[in-house]
Amino acid sequence: MTSELKPVKEGIFEVGPPPRLRGAICPECNQKFFPRPMVCPHCLGELQDVYLSTEGKVYTYAILRVKPPYKLPRPYAVGWVHLEADGIKIHTLFDPEKLSDLDFGRQVTLRVGAIGVDNNGDSCLRYYFTPQVGGEQ
């Protein structure tokens, strides 16, 4: 079933397996971006497609307790993951089944799954990061 659902936004990830986020790199500035801008915002040069690393560390997070947007689970967690290998921090959903495992610096792994609905109200796929339980702090 999952494979029939569309991503919440086209072009930002590949479902896989393995799931991968589609970023971009400027070969001149050696800087990565997510999501992909039109051109490099530093030099206005052409960008190359690049897959971002599928592992990172929780930079910070928040748990929303009130009625969620997009029929997301209640509660759910969002926040920021530091993709150290790529040199960027990205905003993300976290695994709604593992809120209690979230912590600063916790290793997390990329997943793609059916969570909530899109702007048209249709069920859709979203990317999220799940904590590696017992993972390095």
Binding site: Y59, T60, L64, P69, W80, H91, N119
Partner: protein, 382 residues
């Protein structure tokens, strides 16, 4: 550079005003500010109107012309300005620029918003932005910062709550504030949890309201008033968006602040009273740090010390701030300027900071890649 004064200021009460149309909210403030300035509407050369959500909520546009017509102002250039929570300060920055450039002598800035709308829901940045699609809402953005600030610097939930308690106590001295009944730290902590650690009383309420100021070239202002308020600095910056944000500090405050202090020839130690964008309790603590009222990381301890309460070393948000006065987006940053005028004229009533001579207003709005999209700082002196 040409100097600019504020010669008139007025605002409506903030809070639910369901029966009052947007145009009336803005026009009441505009009429009040024009009368307060002792000026004729025909002596105004250019007008700016700040609003954020009317296009979304009621489908209105070019509202500024309607408001200014009600206040007797027509024919002149009128601009409608949207820049999130800083819309009002952004409009002010344009008005100030139009006068220092020598192009115009007298400008009016009006901000108004109607935000008390049934079933409005949580405010989101925009339905096509990726962080919104991935579940980011305004409050999770600031709850994430609060959690990181607590983890990094040892800021406590109680210190966060003290911001709400202080601003409510201040609001009790402001007849125009939305919420004036005192609250306690325990009440803030035990209020319904929105996004940990922010409870309902840690968040500013939606409000309706309007505010307006009249600016004038300094060499002309004594024709109209004996109490001109001097604009020492007006700065607006946007974000860097390098995708490596440090979410425990407001980089935009630090950058805009140093520009504003340099422009004014003043520093944080010269300030007597401050209003800042306390949309959530954590914001005020981080603005203390961004504006140099204390080092980065010390904001929680600063509020706990009482330094930012009325009667303290540097009172912050004597009006009650967004947290208790309310946050009618487009009016918010203009109302901060109105408070500056009242404090520096000695007209702030029970919340007057004795002998206030230097006032700073900070506002911040929207977010992209963890950076604020807009940050404004205005420094006024009497």
């Amino acid at each position: 550079m040409r100097q600019v004064d504020i010669i008139g200021a007025d605002m409506t009460a903030f809070g639910p005003q369901i029966e009052t149309p947007l145009v009336e909210l803005g026009a009441r403030a505009a009429i009040g500010a024009i009368k307060n300035a002792g000026i004729k509407p025909s002596q105004i050369n250019i007008g700016f109107f700040a609003n954020m959500q009317a296009g979304n909520i009621t489908g209105e546009f070019t509202v500024g012309q309607n408001i200014l017509w009600e206040a007797g102002v027509n024919r002149i250039p009128v601009f409608n300005v949207e820049n999130a929570c800083t819309s009002g300060a952004s409009a002010f920055n344009l008005a100030w620029t139009s006068i220092i450039s020598g192009m115009y002598d007298v400008a009016i800035v009006v901000g108004a918003e109607k935000l008390v709308v049934p079933n409005l829901g949580l405010l989101q940045a925009g339905a096509t932005e990726l962080n919104v699609l991935e579940g980011g809402v305004v409050i999770t953005n600031f709850a994430s910062r609060a959690n990181l600030h607590m983890d990094t610097f040892g800021t406590t939930k109680e210190q966060l709550a003290m911001v709400a308690v202080k601003n409510r106590q201040h609001a009790g001295m402001n007849p125009l504030a939305q919420f004036r009944k005192p609250i306690t730290v325990e009440e803030v902590l035990n209020a319904p949890m929105m996004a940990d650690p922010l409870t309902k009383l840690s968040c500013c309420p939606n409000a309706d309201g309007g505010a307006a100021v009249v600016l004038c070239a300094a060499e002309l202002s004594n024709r109209f008033t004996s109490k001109p308020i001097h604009v020492k600095a007006s700065v607006l910056v946007s974000g860097i968006y390098d995708q490596l944000p440090d979410l425990f500090k407001f980089e935009e405050d630090l950058r805009a602040g140093s520009m504003a202090y340099e422009m004014a020839g003043l520093g944080p130690e010269d300030l007597h009273v401050v209003e800042c964008h306390d949309a959530f309790t954590i914001c005020e603590i981080m603005h203390y740090e961004g504006l140099g009222l204390c080092p980065v990381g010390e904001g929680g301890r600063l509020v706990e010390s009482g330094a930012t309460s009325l009667g303290g070393k540097i009172p912050v948000n004597p009006t009650g701030g967004l947290l208790s006065k309310g946050h009618p987006l487009g009016a918010t940053a203009v109302a901060q300027i109105v408070e500056g005028v009242r404090q520096l004229r000695g007209e702030a009533g029970d919340r007057q900071v004795e002998g206030a001579k230097v006032y700073l207003a900070e506002c911040m709005g929207a977010e992209k890649f963890g950076d604020a999209k807009t940050c404004t700082i205005i420094i006024l002196q009497n």
